[in-house]
């Protein structure tokens, strides 16, 4: 069964179409990544799934049923902008948010989550005394403490250090292991690549990618050369067959022209500098994102 089924949903704000005839099916028990540039319609889509704003047209089914207040009780939602009562104590706040979603007593679960996310010492402190990362973790607990069947997380990793990123990542995978469906939006492409069973990209309100990472990558040729060289990106200038150099500092990602021979290009690079490692591969999600939404896509669109 699909956890979410969107059928041609459209939402406009004045003259701006935020989401344009979007259809999507999210399988139950999957981790689904929503990617897209800022203002492309991710948050609006999540808000419609949460029944916070209604679509202008189209149908939404969540957990096998049309949206009703009892359905949304089974969904945990963490908005992009964090919202916590600053003067409430952490434990009291989590019990309040948990009780809004669940009729069961959530006190024990709150304490378990506080311990799991290393926040027990802060349980009786006011929210306004927390650091940004700690507040982020509290918001995460508020979202999941009622054990929802569907978890919607808008940018869950923003502002977290690597340790806390891992804690949240493990928690997300834990939900999946117990059968919950998780959707999260992110600008961290590597996180989406590593965690998501399916990736959906929305651009200017329209769906432009939807599927597994490999199925998305299959749409693109093996035209990417990832390389580590001794003299930096300067040594890669003016080589025939290289369309674009994406310089990450320690590593460069080269997009090859359609008819280019990777062997010849590698040979030319070896002639110019030392090659420490290389890998001929399909484009990364980051590169695919840039190809769709970056400046070069705009140039193509304008041409």
């Amino acid at each position: 069964m699909a956890a979410i089924e969107l059928e041609s949903i459209t939402k406009t704000f004045g003259k701006h179409t935020a989401v344009d005839t979007l259809s999507l099916s999210v399988p139950e028990g999957s981790v689904y990544g929503f990617i897209g540039p800022n203002g492309s319609g991710k948050t609006t889509t999540l808000r419609m799934i949460m029944n916070i704003i209604p679509p202008d047209s189209g149908k939404i089914k969540v957990l096998g049923a049309p949206l009703t207040p009892s359905t949304t009780d089974r969904i945990g939602y963490m908005p992009e902008e964090r919202g916590l009562y600053r003067r409430m104590k952490v434990r009291e706040l989590l019990q309040f948010f948990g009780s809004l979603k669940s009729e069961n007593n959530v006190k024990t679960k709150v304490d378990q989550w506080l311990e799991r996310l290393d926040l027990t010492a802060w349980a009786n402190k006011q929210v306004e005394t927390l650091s940004k990362g700690m507040a982020q973790k509290v918001q995460f607990i508020a979202t999941v403490v009622a054990e929802p069947e569907l978890v919607l997380l808008d940018e869950p990793f923003t502002g977290l250090d690597p340790v806390n990123t891992d804690v949240i990542k493990d928690a997300i995978l834990g939900f999946q292991a117990r059968g919950a469906t998780v959707i999260f939006s992110t600008h961290d492409m590597s996180m989406a690549e590593k965690m998501c069973d399916f990736i959906f990209m929305i651009f200017k309100g329209k769906k432009v990618l939807d599927g597994t990472l490999s199925s998305i990558q299959d749409k693109y040729a093996t035209d990417t050369l990832r390389i580590r060289i001794g003299d930096g990106a300067g040594a890669l200038q003016n080589i025939d067959g290289i369309e674009k150099v994406n310089d990450f500092g320690q590593m460069q990602e080269l997009r090859l022209a359609p008819a280019a021979d990777p062997q010849k290009i590698l040979h030319e690079i070896l002639r110019r500098t030392t090659v420490r490692s290389f890998d001929i591969t399909k484009p990364s999600l980051h590169d695919i994102f840039i190809r769709i939404a970056g400046p070069e896509a705009k140039e193509v669109n304008h041409a």
Partner: protein, 438 residues
């Protein structure tokens, strides 16, 4: 409903657990009743510095009587009869020969003496004061002082001067003042309540003496109490909704509750706050009036109306405040919307005095039947000794009920759109569009 109650409980706890609420609970009646308390405490605290009054008597027949009256007062009324403590200033009269040639210069000289402190005031009695004729200027009595408008000495001096003028007029008419001693005895008209039959004994009772406390103070205090309850709960809703919107808490909450439930939970929280405060004030008030022996003046039969109107007023104004709070994107928006939000509650405070004075007048009746003003003004009228016709509070209640439903409906429509609308200023055109088109 469970979620509304849960959220309302959070709102209530967030409000009453603050130090501000407890301080406000204590300070609000002190500030609002501060004037009255200060008046009671300070009414006997008068300036006992002796005062010198110059008299320019152009009749030539009044000044000596004024001197005698002042001496009599100084002998009898200046000191407390039991403690002997000086409680009033002595008045010393200085008779000044009127200048016939240059009265203006004389007035200037006396004014300068007041300025340099050797004189407190001077009074000039016109030459025709005994028998005022066509020349009004010649019959005037003028009192000159630094603050002549509000002066105890001016109030006092009018008595002996006029007593003497009446004596002179009687004498001129050939009547001996001693023959008509009671001529100047003033008999006041006492206000009495209506007479009714005692239900238990069947006897005709006595009309109760009408007291200004009963007629004005009690109704106004009851109305002020309701106003205080509204002010302690409603403006807070405007600001807390604004905070929930700007701090993005609203979006988290809307993942769990519908916008209408959100708004009604805020209103319910406000009602709970008002009920708590009013319970404290009413119980405290009853204890105080019992202690002071004034419970006969308290209209206990008014309490059901008080609570019914107060609840509806808080729902009505609260829904409106929450709706306007949802249109605010920053604190200054909420500040500028505070006055229009509370204007329907403020307006009755501007017109309460004429209504309390004539509670059965057509102005009072019509104003108290305008729904936004009904809770405060009808309660005020109900608190007056005569009460109001039985149909009026019911008609008022139905009007308020209908208006409350309308406010909640309009408020809900504005709220559900505006609460997620970031960066849009609360313009009237937007508010009207959200209210009527959704």
């Amino acid at each position: 409903m469970r979620r509304i109650l849960l959220f309302a409980r959070r709102e209530y706890k967030a409000a009453v657990k603050t130090k501000g609420f407890i301080i406000g609970l204590v300070l609000a009646p002190i500030l609002m009743g501060g004037g009255m308390i200060a008046f009671v405490l300070l009414k006997d605290r008068v300036d006992t510095t002796d005062k010198r009054l110059a008299v320019v008597d152009r009749t030539g027949k009044v000044a000596e009587a004024l001197v005698a009256a002042a001496e009599n007062r100084n002998a009898k009324e200046i000191h407390h009869p039991e403690t002997g403590k000086k409680v009033r200033p002595s008045y010393y009269i200085e008779v000044v020969t009127p200048s016939a040639s240059d009265p203006k210069t004389q007035r200037l000289e006396l004014s300068d003496r007041i300025r340099n402190g050797s004189l407190y005031a001077f009074v000039e009695i016109g030459p025709d004061a005994i028998h005022p004729g066509k020349d009004r200027e010649a019959s005037r009595i003028l009192f000159y002082a630094k603050n002549a408008a509000m002066d105890d000495l001016r109030s006092w001096v009018g008595g002996p001067i006029n007593d003497r003028l009446r004596e002179l007029r009687l004498a001129d008419a050939g009547i001996k003042p001693s023959d008509v001693k009671d001529l100047f005895y003033w008999v006041g008209v006492e206000g009495m309540g209506l007479v009714s039959v005692d239900k238990e004994t069947g006897t005709i009772g006595e009309g109760r003496s009408a007291s200004p406390v009963e007629a004005l103070v009690i109704p106004i205090v009851i109305m002020l109490l309701m106003f205080l309850m509204i002010m302690m709960s409603v403006p807070g809703m405007l600001h807390s909704v604004m905070e929930e919107k700007t701090q993005r808490i609203a979006e988290v909450l809307l993942g769990s509750i519908r916008p209408f439930e959100f708004m009604m939970a805020k209103v319910l929280g406000g009602i709970a706050v008002a009920l708590t405060s009013s319970a404290v004030y009413i119980v405290g008030g009853i204890l105080v009036v019992r202690y002071m022996g004034l419970e006969e003046y308290v209209p206990f039969q008014l309490l059901p109306w008080f609570f019914a109107y107060m609840l509806l007023a808080i729902i009505m104004f609260g829904a409106w405040a929450a709706a306007l709070g949802s249109t605010c994107s920053e604190a200054k928006d909420a500040q500028s919307l505070s006055l229009p939000t509370m204007l329907p509650a403020f307006f009755p405070m501007f017109i309460y005095f004429p209504i309390a004075k004539e509670p059965m007048g057509s102005f009072a009746t019509s104003m108290s039947l305008i729904p936004p003003f009904t809770p405060l003004l009808m309660t005020l009228r109900l608190g007056t000794p005569g009460g109001v016709p039985a149909w009026q509070p019911w008609v008022g209640l139905v009007g308020v009920l209908l208006f409350t439903v309308f406010f909640v409906w309009v408020g809900g429509r504005i709220f559900r759109v505006a609460i997620l609308m970031q960066g849009t200023p609360p313009k009237l055109s937007n508010i009207l569009r959200w209210a009527f088109r959704g």
